[in-house]
Symmetry: C2
Subunit: 151 residues, 2 copies
Amino acid sequence: MEIKVRQGEYKDLKAVHELVKELAIYEKEPQAVTASLEDYKRDFQEGIFECIVAEKGDEIVGMMLYYMAYSTWRGRMLYLEDFVVKEAYRRQGVGQLLYDYFLPICKQKGAILVKWQVLDWNEPAINFYKKNHAEIEKGWYNVKHYFYNFE
Amino acid sequence: MEIKVRQGEYKDLKAVHELVKELAIYEKEPQAVTASLEDYKRDFQEGIFECIVAEKGDEIVGMMLYYMAYSTWRGRMLYLEDFVVKEAYRRQGVGQLLYDYFLPICKQKGAILVKWQVLDWNEPAINFYKKNHAEIEKGWYNVKHYFYNFE
């Protein structure tokens, strides 16, 4: 069965939220997903983020979640917050289909670049991005200031 | 003369753009600022970013530029893209004034957290953030896909 990539809609948010939770469980941090499906629904409707989904029949097997961001040096920038392919569907080109669908969206939105992050030990992902002509930038730490205590 | 922090307005964008260019010159990358003042004006008017400014008399001596972002794990997140204090006004508490003004804005906007980045060698900045109860997160690379060749 063919895999089809399309713009994510309100009705896909449940599957998107499930994919995020599935990945957090895989990364042994299930408690870290504190954003609820209701949060996703409200924030999607307010236009805070968009997503694209990869579909096989009725099943969402992958997604990219992104939003408009800004680089003071370059201007409009899209930020790719999450890029997930379901465990069982990896190494079948789903990631590439999503990637290829995503880049024209960025250009349509007038973005000069897309930015995202990758874990420094994730060699397969780094190689995938390099193959797709993305630049890897080292030398930065993330800084986070939380307003809530999740313990 | 007292330093006052306030929400940045359209009329401040010229000074904000100048601060960004000044920092890029200091970092020996003046050619990297390809976003023009006209870009800033259009994108600010479209609500893509906001800023706060520190003012001493008529002079803008510092600023923070930020936008609404999204964490799939946590939900609404503010991203602090740039945080600049003019060279001549450093070590006088301007950064702290900006920081203290910024955090309540994030809470008002319903953000669960603020995220930004710091260069791994920038010890004074890292110490400043730690003092302000921010968490430093290591182990990530940035990835950037550009649509334009700036060479």
